[in-house]
């Protein structure tokens, strides 16, 4: 009798959005926070099994992320070092936040956008193309044009998946996975040897794109522009977060998106065009991801290598961001900060090998991500809390 009854929560044919909405009501913040802690505990056990100290390992990862900058007692050279690390963390957070919005917005309409990676790459590719051509154009105008093209490209790319869903019912998970790989190979072709956007200037051993013009670099407001300081792309991402929140809560589009997410049949019956909503929701999602590509290229990457395209995971980690953040604006912000810090804190150059091998730590990050998605996605803790609730009520009575 104490067994979790998911059915009480979600009924017979749950959409992703209903499930999430009910999870909010049932667990609120407690679910994701406890789940994250649980994932870290499991990660700690793995560290322990390896023979290292989990506490000093997590401490080193924390310091590697630069979050110790927030402590006023960190002073002098340590503080300058922490600031540099935190700038890196926030650069990753920027891209994760935008891509997290891309996954989250589609989620709210009941669609699972696995294609954040592809939309991000389309944004990167277009940014490199436009940013490296049209040299001599007015700087700010050039930046706006590049960002607009990347955003539009991402929107069209994702919109294609939405269109296929709306017209022929092709499952968005399958179409977005295919679009991801098409973007990967088209990007590798463009920037690779003999490709149309291959840089002939660089002498590096890996094929890479030409660098964007210096005049389209986004201004750095914290740290040194030479050492990849934090650029204004961070504020662009925060502004998008506000747009996301307001669109969903205050506009007719947001209402339709949420309604379709809850119950497409009822929305259709109420006179909404479900097909149109799917296309628009995917296009808006793709716009966020495409923008992320532009912000990364213009902010700190400046040129994109074939290797970057094939190993980039931003769009996939963004799934963890959206799932953990429960598609809520504040949740996505916190989750993107968490994963940005984890990614940067476990990077080879940031983690002290004497404490824990960074090669192991970066894989630990992947395991923690997997556990978080698994636990939050299945609402394991929510179910557990839910099953505890009546008993507590009975005990009180």
């Amino acid at each position: 009798m104490g067994a979790p009854r998911h059915d009480d929560l979600v009924g017979d044919a749950p959409t992703v959005a209903t499930r999430l909405a009910l999870a909010h009501r049932a667990g609120g913040l407690a679910g994701p926070v406890l789940t994250t802690l649980l994932a870290f505990v499991v990660g700690g056990l793995i560290v322990l099994a390896t023979g290292a100290n989990p506490f000093s390992t997590y401490r080193a990862i924390f310091d590697g992320s630069g979050l110790n900058w927030l402590f006023p007692w960190v002073r002098g050279a340590d503080r300058a070092f922490a600031a540099g690390n935190l700038q890196q963390t926030l650069l990753l957070t920027t891209a994760l936040l935008l891509c997290g919005l891309a996954v989250g917005f589609a989620f709210r309409s009941g669609l699972f956008n696995i294609g954040g990676q592809g939309q991000y790459l389309v944004g990167s590719i277009l940014s490199v193309w436009i940013g490296s051509s049209l040299v001599g154009m007015n700087g700010p105008l050039h930046i706006l044009l590049t960002i607009a093209a990347a955003t539009l490209g991402g929107a069209l790319y994702a919109g294609l998946a939405g269109l296929l869903k709306a017209t022929v019912g092709a499952h968005e998970v399958i179409t977005t996975i295919m679009l991801n790989w098409i973007a990967v190979w088209v990007g590798s072709w463009l920037f690779g040897d003999g490709g149309a956007l291959q840089s002939h200037a660089g002498g590096g051993s890996f094929p890479t794109s030409p660098p964007v013009a210096g005049s389209v670099h986004l201004p750095v407001f914290w740290g040194s522009a030479e050492l990849q300081g934090l650029d204004i792309g961070f504020f662009v991402a925060l502004a998008c977060l506000v747009v996301y929140a307001l669109t969903l809560s205050r506009t007719a589009l947001g209402f339709e998106v949420r309604a379709v997410g809850f119950n497409p049949e009822a929305s259709r019956y109420a006179g909404m065009s479900v097909a149109r909503t799917y296309v628009v929701a995917m296009a808006v999602a793709g716009a966020f991801a495409g923008l992320a590509g532009a912000v990364d290229v213009l902010g700190w990457q400046f040129s994109v290598g074939v290797n970057d395209i094939q190993t980039s995971q931003i769009g996939f980690i963004a799934i963890a961001v959206a799932v953990l953040g429960r598609n809520r604006p504040l949740g996505i912000l916190l989750a993107s900060l968490l994963f940005g810090a984890l990614l940067n804190g476990t990077a080879t150059r940031n983690l002290d090998p004497a404490v824990f091998r960074p090669e192991l730590a970066s894989n630990l990050t992947l395991i923690i991500q997997g556990l978080v998605i698994l636990f939050v996605g299945a609402d394991v803790l929510v179910l557990w809390l839910w099953s505890r609730r009546p008993r507590r009520a009975m005990a009180a009575a």
Binding site: I114, G195, A320, L360, N363, I368, I373, L374, G377
Partner: protein
């Protein structure tokens, strides 16, 4: 259109069969259109591929108008593709053609298609029982690492395969528990499983091998020399020296077709994927079937992964070794319309395109890179319904709750 139909006598099914035969003939002609320009025929005039291609398109069109839409339009596409490829081939030098299109191209098609066949059949079992499995990539990766680990420490490739199957099955069990028992979203679960596999294999690879490569000389899955083919040059090059796993993949396709479509257990599996409530009503244990199929799916996918590391990989492992093959396998399953032979055909097509991509640098290395996108584009076209419609099992991805 209707006059065409009216002129034909006989019951509907015979007319359909007739149109289908015409369409299949069209597809064959489309393939011939490309083949005439390639070795050993190597026609040098573009006239031949164009003629064969047009004939294929005409047959396809007539078949499509008479109701066999999917194969009909397929024949039209084959004809147009045949013309394009044929003309391209007549314009390239014979030396290059002889370099690229050899019998060993067929052997290397099997090399690249084998992991896809295992993955696609794995996915077919899982999804036929009603559980979406986008964790194939992760399950293959588990097989790749634990396969090489088992072969290294156990001293034999057979131990490697067993360890791989165990690891893949365990990861699939996690997916099954969350998808079936907790009724979690199966796509979220599959995504998580992929992350877990990437982390687990990377972690243990570094931990167990101290950041080094797997030592050279690990026992690998043997190749099967076919006796009696030495004198038949073409067949010997294509089939004479294939890996054991390639032959196993052929057998797997036949066996899984028999199991899924000719046995009672197969009927039960498909019932669970189409209408679990009805299956439950007649006494089928839906949960047991689904658990079994998902775990089997993990075991088979892991075999495909093990082939990568201790089969044609020669006993090596690298981080993220599968590099998206699990997703191509997923694409092959969809392209093959959730049927073993369909999946096999799609896997062969995708394997062929990869094999060709490895040889295309003879012409242009950049074109070879772009060619790698072909499987994904084809699958996108297939799910978009341009050439007929793919239809997943009705209850695919829907959690089932007993009443």
């Amino acid at each position: 259109m209707s006059t065409w139909a009216e002129r034909l006598d006989g019951p509907v099914w015979s007319r359909m069969r007739d149109a289908r035969t015409v369409a299949v003939a069209g597809i064959v002609l489309g393939i011939v259109a490309a083949l005439v320009a390639l070795p050993p025929v190597t026609a040098r005039s573009p006239l031949y591929p164009v003629l064969f291609g047009i004939a294929a398109a005409v047959l396809g069109l007539s078949a499509a108008l008479r109701g066999a839409r999917r194969p009909g339009w397929g024949a039209v596409a084959a004809g147009l593709l045949g013309i394009t490829l044929g003309i391209l081939a007549t314009r390239s030098s014979t030396g290059n053609l002889n370099l690229v299109f050899t019998a060993s191209l067929i052997a290397s098609m099997f090399v690249f298609s084998t992991p896809l066949v295992f993955g696609a059949i794995a996915g077919t079992f899982s999804e036929r029982s009603g559980v979406v499995n986008i964790g194939l990539e992760g399950m293959m990766l588990m097989g790749a690492f634990w396969g090489v680990y088992g072969a290294d420490k156990g001293g034999s490739w057979m131990v490697g395969l067993l360890v791989a199957m165990l690891a893949g099955g365990l990861l699939a069990l996690v997916h099954a528990y969350f998808a079936i028992h907790l009724r979690a979203d199966q796509i979220v679960g599959g995504t998580a499983v992929n992350f877990l596999a990437l982390g687990i294999t990377g972690y243990f690879f570094f931990q167990l091998y101290h950041g080094q490569d797997v030592p050279v000389g690990v026992s690998t899955i043997p190749d099967m020399k076919l006796p009696g083919l030495e004198h038949v040059h073409f067949l010997n090059q294509a089939f004479g020296d294939l890996n054991l796993m390639v032959w196993l993949s052929f057998a797997l396709v036949i066996v899984s077709w028999l199991v899924l479509f000719k046995t009672a257990i197969g009927l039960r599996i498909r019932a669970c994927g189409e209408h679990p409530r009805a299956a439950d009503t007649v006494g089928i244990n839906v949960y047991a079937i689904r658990y079994g199929c998902v775990v089997l799916s993990g075991v088979l996918a892991a075999l495909g992964g093990a082939y990568l590391s201790i089969g044609f990989g020669g006993g090596a492992f690298t981080d993220n070794m599968t590099a998206g093959r699990g997703f191509i396998a997923l694409a092959a399953m969809i392209f093959g319309n959730w049927r073993p032979f369909g999946a096999f055909g799609a896997a062969l097509l995708f394997g062929f395109s990869t094999a060709l991509a490895y040889r295309l640098p003879a012409y242009s290395s950049s074109a070879a890179t772009l060619f790698q996108a072909l499987p994904y584009v084809l699958t996108l076209i297939a799910v978009a319904g341009v050439i007929g419609r793919t239809s997943p099992p009705a209850a695919d991805g829907k959690p089932y709750r007993k009443q």
